[in-house]
Symmetry: C2
Subunit: 279 residues, 2 copies
Amino acid sequence: MDSLTPATPPKTEALARRYGADVLPAAGPWNETIATMLDHRSVRSYKPDPVPAGALESMIAAAQSAATSSNMQWWSALAVTDPAKKKVLAEIAGGQKHIEQCPLFIAWIADMSRNQRISNATKTPFETMPWLETFMVASIDAALAAQNAVVAAESMGLRTVYIGAMRNDPIRVADLLGLPPQAVVVFGLCVGYATEKGKGEVKPRLPQSVVLHTERYDASREEALRAAYDAEMSKFSARHELQAATWTQRVLNRLGPIKAMNGRETLRAALAKMGFEVR
Amino acid sequence: MDSLTPATPPKTEALARRYGADVLPAAGPWNETIATMLDHRSVRSYKPDPVPAGALESMIAAAQSAATSSNMQWWSALAVTDPAKKKVLAEIAGGQKHIEQCPLFIAWIADMSRNQRISNATKTPFETMPWLETFMVASIDAALAAQNAVVAAESMGLRTVYIGAMRNDPIRVADLLGLPPQAVVVFGLCVGYATEKGKGEVKPRLPQSVVLHTERYDASREEALRAAYDAEMSKFSARHELQAATWTQRVLNRLGPIKAMNGRETLRAALAKMGFEVR
């Protein structure tokens, strides 16, 4: 092994951090890979140190090893280290300083332009292009790939945060990165070493029984379990001096008013201009 | 550690399996987690043995540990072991026998119904629901979660295959699994132990320099590299007695005629009926 895996907590402690000590799921098999994933937290404060030589290539090898529908590989990744470019990307993302600060930013691209080049070279009509299904496959495959890259990065001791705000202005992002038509950045990813302060804490999630159903969808216990999670998240927020709203209130803030979309209700129109019809 | 991680090949061999020996990327850091991901192959032949006790719960703990936009957790998972249900799902998927055969099938759900329940309970209008952006976030977050579950499963020695064909008839799938409106299965996942024959071989992917761009998108070397990949994939197809088409030909078969979509060009209309407007 070329690099040590960072230390991870034992199983019960890892589960308690993720769910709170009162609602531990009946998790079974455990190993260092699972422990690494359980220890995930999104990091928004990075040291200036570059990522190790070959780290990006190891991450992309993991990304390309993820499943891809019919082996079509409808995605690309674009690595940005240029400070001037990262500054513009941070601005597009509404002033997210960690994009400027992280040593490596990866743009994950739903990429149908490669297919268009094959279509052009062979003069074969590309009938399956303009559909929601096609855009979905490209976006989902990009997400599967990116998540493998994240797990690889975290297994090396690096930290990450996804940047959905690339979709605030996908046309400007595409212009900046020189994308051809039919290629769109679906999200970005900051990669680097966390500062001591930025390491943060594992964020609790909904009790497992809220998101995991067996044989049939069943939300009968959801309300009570959500109340327990609200209490857990209020404690988390208090520890981190965040606005002490419950999770339920956060959901309402995010879902209620259209202004919470930061303009992303125009995504479909922007995609159409970029060659994705999304019928 | 409760379970041993299965044996994985050393770095150079793992990279050679994934890319072919002639186009190895300059991968750097390496460890057992990365090796596990590099060893991925989609498996379509399963032993009848059930998954170990707690394996599902460990997979879902990993899934919930993946990043989720604004901590919104807009996804659910539904575990199916009932043979009668799996038989119907296999039929919907165009007769994919491995869905019947695998001991555990997980349906991954873009789930806005939980938000709708919160909206209803608090009488708060849900203005951000009907947009493509919202459906994208739910689908991408489901994909990030599912990929962590896959990595967890593979780290225990289990194998998997994603089933995109749940989107052939999302309404019938939703009816079968008792989903409420505003919840849709975006893809399925078979989980189990591979038969000896079903283990297969790591599938080569496009050379890393085709999918990884630096600072600006650059497809100038793509055509030559694609030709090399066509040759690599022809060898792979011959070894596996598959139709010996090149990868380029497979792309054309999949992209050219609309019939290759198996009816999924109707996805947007189906989603509208299920409460996802996708404006």
